[in-house]
Symmetry: C2
Subunit: 606 residues, 2 copies
């Protein structure tokens, strides 16, 4: 039999557009004489659509598109993922919804779940993720709940779907395969009912994270090998978001053979469709796609998200404050990749605290990339503000409006973003960017309405050490990012105390703090301040965070200094930094713990 | 028997502080010779603590505080709510947690759930809310899952707790009482096993919303009346948040008699404790607390949240941009209520577009309240920016940096917030406020890094018509808010086209748009653009949104104009306005659908 597998670009919230895409692929599938076309999870509504699931008319629209897709199943069968709705309310008082798979044949949906006199013409997902950015139980019921409602067990209703030719399809949806911690195991239930000439199909809408490919290969090749049944893993591409976090869906669909080996895989970050032939094994005439790894893969994910999101929002140009430092340089490269260098406007905004080193680095970066470039000194405007305020005074309070010291430092950052970049972006017809990284965002080493501002935060899910790695990855093709941007200490250059030519800069010690912060943020059972202090006192900290013991001792000659340092950063992380994060732009998310809606925080001032 | 009921001020994330509070109350309870002290749901960890539940050491700390509270149960019994943990993992791969009730007696926790050879020394919550700001299934398992694990039913393990004296307590936790849409009904299960001399106790940690008191009285008085059993509803006070939304917990604990009548109730928005005597009925020697309603209640909630949050964050002073308009005036009153007028710095920042009318209104407001007041003209600084940019130009692009029209409008707003207010706040040692209302936020009629900025958004969950109502409520005590701020049209005064003296102002038509926007946002089964167009075409729109048909016809002589208007605002609501909301400060939440983490949105540009 021939299966036309579609790694589809799913547009969230736009069933109308997704239908057009499906329609186009069905024409192609028929031309290729496929018996079955397979589309990803939630390919009609989209997946990360937040509370849009509560809009009754939207769900109705999706259901009517389900019907239209079903009508296309004429001379070809269609397996697709979409929303299902029942005529009863869920416990939230709204109509009961499922994240479901549908099988259409000869213009009709086929029964996929049956028990006694009950029947459903769709298959609900069994496992609903409810962690990180996933909130499925907020919106959907599942197959286990359906079994319970029918007074039976999951094992009695989760069955492979038998095709006319006799082949059985073991259909699962995304999380159903990621069952390591789950109490139920859909692949095992199905596998016991299937044979070596059958086929597992997992339809997914699964966002990219660094390191996921490896984990995914491990998980799904295990299912195939365990049951000696080949497995088609079909993921979508595109970009979806939940407001605070933007995700790329990498596609990278593939087929695992019955030995758990990867037979072939689709490309990454682009739509693709191919015809697979299933007989004693699964065959596919597709070329071998070169896969990126590590920082090259991260770069591709970031550029993909920038390009697709700005296109969706109608933004063709961006303005970037180019300080001569590493973050804005890496940002400039990513946006140039996405929009073309001619649409990336670099602006260097010096005061007397900015060194020739960084000013030259900013200019060199622009020249290397071919971006429009401008130097816009900001001192006159700040002076105008300082003088203007010096003339003002309050009635009923005698505080003098003297702008100096820390007040003067922060006003520089806010003038750059709110006054200059926003206005320049407005005039050139575009948006400006936020170039903050995860380390700065972690401790709030940034100014609200200053460098925290922008339309997108491209590097917000990368630790500073990863930004350096990405810079080195970029420069593999030749020096695009000026070497001096990489070599100088990271610095905000907001005062004499941050003079890069004297080797002065940020108070964050890289990579030690990155590793400590990751230990606090990114472990599945998360660590707190007391855990790090305990680890220090019991001598396991350096090995726990994978940091050199000797370098640690150079930084902190004794433990009490290390504790003080931890307490200082912890307090910022939980306090002022969180207040800033709440008001930050969407973060392009690539880790397994991104600030925003993945990692959810309350302001408690702990 | 005597029950000491504690409407406790729960500090989220601070089991150490909550323990001190409990300790103090136990001393008082013993002095009053109470048999039992009752504390609210999650009174040790706090409730809205986001992903802090994942921090293993934090949960361990809570469990050790549970033990310390248990140890206090010496000569008195203690019923309290806290987290429980099992030595197995949940489906998220982390230790299984419950939102639980504990009963401590003679220094030991008592068994509250038993079946065959299973026993738990805590009672898990049965119903876990998973809508609006509630995410309990993300963190907790529940009593139904426990019953299933034990191979039995909820009915077999949910039992009243029998005291030594024979009285049975039917213990439930918060949502267990709000069971209208639920598939299980804890009060009914318990009620069937109880008699008229027994007592229901619902321990809650339930946030305030406008209209909730009425709904809560209906729901809980029904349970009491249905089973002819009195009911103690014990809620906490304090303020908790999830980052984007701040909530007040109103307390307002009360006892319903077996006829469903409210026997007495505790005060609102303040901690309180009282001894109840339970014999044939429930008695309490507390005075009758006057309850606020409507906008007076909203004012109290807002002031409570401002005061408690700013105190927690160490902010004693705020700076408010006083435009002479209604929003900043109402904000100034609320912050003055919370911090004292001497700590509320009002700054009027005129350009040539600001009328004497509004400038005088701002000054009069400051005089009426007794706030420090300053006029800080911003034109010189804007001119400095305009002239500075006019000198600049890009290499590789010939766009001229001419700041006029819409560019000039928005730079005014950003200068006010980012340059002036932020700097003034920094100098006086405080924060500045965001005064936006829900109508503006809905359609993004505000400038990012301008008037969307600030430490808190106090009016962000009130429609413009509600801001006017609140202003009138405030002025019941005499003219605090200048009448002209109420009488002039709402206007941003950013251009000649917004001249208030000529009756010009915002493009939003109040109250029609408020009602349309509410129809789109606040219905439980939410409406979309197509629903409103359909309602218009079928002639039900005005009745659906409760708006005058004749006034509607004055605004829109024909339907096509109304449709165009809907399409315009819908597009802004889903597009640019959402982009702004993502970067807005925390909103003080008082409705049943607040922007932020209550109503979750993806940027899809639908």
């Amino acid at each position: 039999m021939k299966i036309f597998a579609v790694q589809m670009d799913v547009v969230p919230g736009r069933p109308d557009l997704n239908f057009k895409t499906i329609q186009k692929y069905i024409v192609e599938a028929k031309a290729q004489k496929a018996d079955l076309a397979v589309f990803p999870e939630m390919c009609i509504p989209g997946y990360l659509i937040s509370d849009l699931w509560e809009e009754t008319t939207f769900v109705s629209e999706c259901l009517s598109i389900n019907d239209k897709v079903t009508a296309l199943a004429d001379g070809i069968d269609i397996l697709f993922g979409s929303v299902a709705r029942e005529n009863v309310n869920g416990e939230n008082g709204r109509p009961l919804l499922y994240n479901a798979a549908y099988y259409a044949s000869q213009g009709n949906l086929q029964p996929l779940v049956q028990f006694e006199d009950h029947v459903k013409y769709f298959l609900p997902k069994t496992l609903l993720p409810c962690y990180r950015e996933f909130d499925e139980p907020r919106y959907f019921s599942d197959l286990r709940a359906l079994a319970m409602k029918w007074g039976t067990t999951l094992e009695n209703i989760l069955k492979p779907y038998r095709l006319r030719g006799g082949i059985q399809l073991g259909i699962t949806i995304c999380e159903d395969g990621w069952d390591a911690n789950a109490y139920a195991h859909p692949f095992d239930i199905l596998g016991l009912q299937m044979g070596p000439r059958d086929l597992f199909i997992n339809i997914s809408c699964s966002p990219y994270t660094l390191g996921k490919t490896k984990a995914r290969n491990r998980v799904f090749s295990h299912h195939a090998k365990q049951h000696r049944i080949p497995l088609l893993y079909l993921n979508s591409v595109g970009t979806q978001n939940n407001g605070k976090n933007i995700y790329a869906f990498e596609g990278d669909s593939c087929v695992y053979g019955s030995e758990g080996d990867t037979l072939f895989s689709f490309p990454t970050f682009e739509p693709y469709a191919a015809t697979l032939t299933v007989d004693d094994s699964v065959h596919c005439p597709i070329p071998s796609f070169e896969k990126l790894t590590g920082m090259a893969e991260v770069r591709a994910a970031l550029v993909y998200m920038i390009r697709e999101n700005l296109k969706r929002w109608g933004i063709r140009r961006v303005v970037i404050g180019a300080s001569g430092g590493i973050d804005s340089a890496v940002s400039a490269v990513l946006y140039s990749d996405a929009l073309g260098a001619e649409n990336v406007f670099l602006v260097n905004m010096p005061t007397r605290f900015n060194s020739d080193t960084t000013k030259n680095a900013a200019r060199d970066l622009a020249d290397n990339l071919g971006c429009p470039y401008m130097v816009a000194p900001i001192t006159d405007v700040i002076e105008s503000l300082r003088l203007s305020l010096a003339k003002d005074s309050f009635v009923r309070n005698d505080t003098k409006m003297i702008v100096e010291g820390i007040h003067y430092e922060n006003v520089q950052a806010r003038m750059r973003s709110g006054a200059f970049l926003a206005t320049i972006a407005s005039v050139v017809g575009g948006a400006f960017t936020c170039n903050g990284n995860k380390s700065e965002i972690f401790v709030g080493y940034c100014t609200l309405y200053g460098d925290t501002s922008g339309v997108l935060c491209a590097l917000g899910d990368l630790w500073k050490v990863q930004v350096y790695e990405l810079a080195r990855e970029i420069n593999k093709q030749g020096e695009i990012i000026p070497q001096k941007s990489i070599d100088i200490p990271a610095s905000a250059e907001l005062s004499e105390a941050q003079n890069v030519d004297e080797g002065k800069g940020d108070p964050i010690i890289y990579p030690y703090h990155d590793k400590l912060f990751s230990y606090w943020l990114e472990r599945w059972n998360r660590n707190g301040l007391s855990d790090s202090i305990h680890a220090l006192k019991t001598g396991t900290l350096c090995s726990d965070i994978d940091f050199s013991e000797s370098r640690f001792r150079e930084i902190f000659p004794d433990d009490s200094l290390a504790v003080l340092d931890m307490e200082l950063w912890w307090k910022r992380y939980q306090g002022i930094a969180l207040a800033k994060r709440i008001q930050m732009p969407p973060i392009l998310s690539v880790s397994r713990r991104a600030f925003g809606f993945d990692y959810r925080e309350s302001q408690m001032g702990r």
